[in-house]
């Protein structure tokens, strides 16, 4: 385990130093990599560890983005505080979705449909609220400054998103090894058996969705102040919900590092192939590449790429399994 920590520490130090050598474009690429890794991790807690499949996680991203932005524009509240408010609001909404799903025993596809429905309802509702910019969305004013969560250049965003991602790994790992984490995994493996052994499966499922929604909404706040433009279809849309689950699936569900590895594979691949194919006049071809990769991983590496990387590295790292 110490060698693995050492390797991870080394990677972290390299990431810390990268802004010294990278240009703005590449920094942006890393920021998006960290961003999707973090988002994937938030989803991973609910779905990878606990087994409740959410296909509407964009809902929480959108709530975080819009709450933070609305509070900042209307009341001048610093996004650092606004995103905490957004986090709690997202948690409350998550708890409501969870209550309907878990209390009334919606499992499998029925829970999936519930999560999609709520995300779509939110997208449509926000699209019709004048104060939130309706369809055309909100442009954020650019007032650089730490309190405003807005910065010139990409370097501060780079470190903030790196911090988010790192914190999410530490949090996932802490949850995984805790009492709660073990109950979550038991729920994923067999909810009925977990119940029979004294686990309050409803309570722990609710805890999982609350944490997951909170985390996802912080990513929304970051996104708003990085992109400076919010549009319902983008932050509440189905495509974001799908985008953010691909990384943990490819990297490895129910593992603290899976979403990170998945994002380091998929995000650059998507960006670079998009740029490359668009130049050649094949716009959208990168999506096909994406789809093919996902299918291959699902077919041949069902445990996620991390599992195989670990196995390949295990002699070197002296891992247990």
């Amino acid at each position: 385990m110490t060698r693995l920590s050492f390797l991870l520490g080394f990677c972290f130090c390299v990431l810390l130093g990268l802004p010294l050598v990278l240009d703005k474009y590449l920094l942006g690429l890393f920021i998006m990599t960290f961003y999707y890794a973090y988002l994937g991790q938030s989803w991973n807690l609910l779905t990878g560890y606990t087994g409740h499949v959410s296909l509407g996680h964009a809902l929480y991203v959108g709530v975080g983005a819009y709450t933070t932005t609305f509070l900042a524009q209307k009341y001048g509240l610093s996004p650092w505080l606004g995103m905490i408010a957004g986090g709690f609001l997202a948690s409350v909404i998550g708890l409501f979705v969870g209550f309907l799903g878990f209390r009334f025993g919606l499992r499998g596809v029925y829970f999936v449909i519930l999560t999609i429905a709520f995300a779509e309802i939110a997208r449509i509702v926000v699209s019709h609220i004048e104060a939130l910019g309706s369809f055309s969305g909100i442009f954020l004013d650019f007032n650089p400054g730490f309190l405003n969560f807005q910065f010139k250049g990409n370097v501060p965003y780079y470190y903030i998103s790196l911090g988010f991602m790192t914190a999410s790994v530490i949090a996932a790992r802490a949850i995984e090894t805790s009492r709660i984490g073990r109950f979550l995994v038991a729920i994923r493996e067999d909810e009925t058996a977990a119940q029979a052994l004294g686990v309050n499966t409803f309570k722990y499922s609710m805890i999982a969705i609350a944490i997951s929604a909170f985390m996802a909404s912080l990513a929304g706040a970051f996104y708003a102040n990085f992109i400076f433009y919010l549009q319902p279809n983008q932050v509440f849309g189905m495509s974001l919900s799908i985008e953010l689950i691909l990384r943990p699936i490819i990297g490895g569900l129910g593992t603290a590092l899976g979403p990170i590895l998945g994002s380091f594979i998929l995000t650059p691949l998507s960006e670079i192939s998009r740029a490359y194919f668009s130049k050649g006049g094949f716009e959208g071809l990168h999506l096909i590449l994406y789809g093919v990769l996902t299918v291959l991983v699902v077919l041949f590496m069902r445990k996620g790429i991390l599992h195989y990387v670990k196995r390949a590295l295990s002699p070197l790292l002296r891992l247990q399994r």
Partner: protein
């Protein structure tokens, strides 16, 4: 003294009476078996006792208190835990982590739970599989794992649902010894079993169900000599083999 009382239990699935007007008492410290043909409603009784299925009528009194409206996890915390006929291990985690789930529902502190889990695993002879994933275990060991998890919750009453099915005679004998030992250490046992060898060896009393109703109750010897039981379940050869017919 009765640790568990079932009063006039009724459970219907549509027009089918899975359990009808079933009453029985489980005495502190005994081993009571529930036998009967397939479809007699035995597992349904377990589901009702544990709160997994709501009763249509009747009442279950656990240690003097009704369990009406309790969820399975609450029944477990009150000291009654069940195993599943079709075993349900947490496949993708280790044997230790499986048993830990049971132990943690009783012990708040992780270290205490871990100690208890290791103790139970050793007790059930799973020691060398502690770190193995549950999916790597063959069925006989999965059945033991199922029992280990349940025992780790520290139950006063253990409900065993056909833990001997599918085992060879040697494994059955081992399990008989183990169940006896669990009982000696103070756990009251209610078991559903088809393996009559186990029923005869362990039970102080036997209840026979057919079409959801109790058709006989008594010592194992009394029950296997009962005309209705032979008719419904055991068959004539069994009665002759046990020499209880005169």
């Amino acid at each position: 003294m009765s640790i568990l009382v079932a009063r006039n239990l009724e459970k219907h699935f549509g027009g089918l009476a899975a359990v009808s007007d079933l009453s029985f008492e489980l005495n502190q410290g005994e081993i009571l078996s529930l036998i009967g043909p397939n479809g007699a409603g035995k597992t349904t009784v377990f589901n009702c006792l544990c709160g997994a299925l709501p009763l249509d009528a009747g009442e279950v009194i656990l240690q003097g208190r009704s369990i009406r409206g309790l969820e399975p996890f609450e029944v477990c915390r009150r000291g009654m835990v069940r195993t599943f006929q079709v075993v349900r291990p947490f496949l993708n985690v280790s044997v230790l982590d499986n048993v830990l789930i049971g132990a943690m529902s009783r012990h708040g502190r992780f270290a205490a739970a871990n100690k208890e889990a290791v103790r139970v695993i050793e007790f059930l002879g799973l020691g060398k599989y502690t770190k193995a994933h549950a999916h790597s275990l063959p069925l006989p060991l999965r059945k033991r794992l199922e029992m280990a998890r349940a025992l780790a919750t520290g139950p006063g009453i253990l409900l065993l649902d056909e833990v001997m099915a599918g085992l060879n005679p040697t494994e059955v004998d081992e399990l008989i010894g183990l169940i006896r030992e669990i009982n000696h250490r103070g756990t009251t046992i209610l078991m559903i079993e088809h393996v009559m060898r186990g029923v005869m060896a362990l039970s102080e009393r036997v209840i026979v169900l057919n079409y959801g109703a109790k058709i006989a109750e008594g010592t194992p010897q009394e029950v296997v000599a009962h005309d209705g039981v032979i008719e419904a379940y055991l068959g004539k050869e069994f009665a002759h083999a046990h020499g209880n017919r005169s």
